[in-house]
Amino acid sequence: MKADYDVIVVGAGPGGSFAAKKAAKAGASVLLIDRRKELGAPVRCGEGLGSHWLDELGLKVSPKAISAEISGSVLYSPNMKREVKIQNPETRGYVIDRKVFDKDLAIDAGRAGAEVIAKTEVYEVIKKDGKVCGVKANCAGDKFEANCKVLIAADGGESTIARMAGIDSTATLYDTDFGIEYEMVNVDCQDLIEIYFSKSAAPRGYVWVFPKGKDVANVGVGIGGLEQGNAVEYLDRFIKNNKRFEGAQTVAIKGGLIPVGEPLKELVADGLMIVGTAAHQVDPIHGGGMALAMEAGGIAGEVAAKCAAEEKTDKKSLYEYESIWRKKVGPKLMRRLRLRKVLEKLDDNDFNAIFENLTDKDLDELIKGDYKPVVQKVLFKRPQLLKVLSALL
């Protein structure tokens, strides 16, 4: 290990490993640090990944990292009277094995020239004259310091690195869902991701069944932080009240926090970039964050390498990452955030009515982001929703 790097990345999740790879490929000297003794484990994820992302990110997923191929999703109304299947390029994808997937991404970063160190925890961010310039870390009991021109905080939901650097990235209960999931065997599955909407089963969130094979699935619940009780209570109830899980056995427990509000107001500071879940870059509708983390990480890595080479790593120069990201992802994310805010206000009866009145095609359009025709149709049947839904028009 050296004492000085162009770029140090904290966190070898999808966001961090992608950033490290891109920065190394662009010629920077890179150190990728992660606390875990084995990258990828323990998993904190439903492991669903849309296949369209592979092209968009230039990502190759090894067959070993794929647990199951998914042909689409199926959504259930709260009263379970109606199910809607959506099978299109947007909903096609994989349920992956993140233990393999995350490690593969770190391997890619290592192959691209980044130094990778596991079982190493960053416990302090070093600043000089207000500018971030390095980290203090503990590598399997040995403490060390390393300097960098750019620090990329990709440390996931805990997001302590940004906060050590003075940026408040604390997750609020209001804007965060908390999820728990059991990987279970003896659960009959199709090649469809199942989503259950119901205020009682998952207030401000949803229940999911993500198949990992014909009879294995991630069965999980996410709930809003301000709701009664804790996620595990909802999951246990859902499983107990559902005959389908009678013979099911749990082979893994996974969980974590899922930011579902706006991304951080500022993604950069002098010498610092924040990417992925640490920056609350998560889809506010389904809570997926892997792809968004990789997308942001890729942009950040390239900009960090360029800025380091030019010796211009103040906030203004690093802002290039934020500006590219906001232009590319911002509008879509904000539209989805608006949809989320509306969905939050609907109760189970509203959902039932919407499911009953809409065709599969309508819901498909809704998911794609074309709200207007659908909203008009719903309002015709349920005019009392005018106030709530007008936010989408």
Partner: protein, 68 residues
């Protein structure tokens, strides 16, 4: 806030290490960085804690007890 400040150093939370799945959710919501994940357990600094109870509310595993 005054009462909470007065309680600094007195701990109202208790983390059950046997229940914890080290997911880090409590760390993410703690406004005082009083909780730090050490890969397989959460380290708790009661000197920093303001007993807001946020971590107990967040914990998806219900591994944190908060005595109100």
């Amino acid at each position: 806030m005054f009462i909470i400040e007065e309680l600094k150093g007195v701990s109202l939370i208790k983390i059950d290490r046997h229940r914890c799945i080290y997911c880090g959710a409590c760390v993410g919501v703690c406004p005082k960085l009083a909780l730090i994940l050490k890969e397989t357990f959460v380290e708790y600094d009661e000197k920093k804690c303001i007993n807001c109870g946020m971590c107990a509310k967040a914990c998806p595993m219900k591994a944190i007890d908060f005595k109100k």
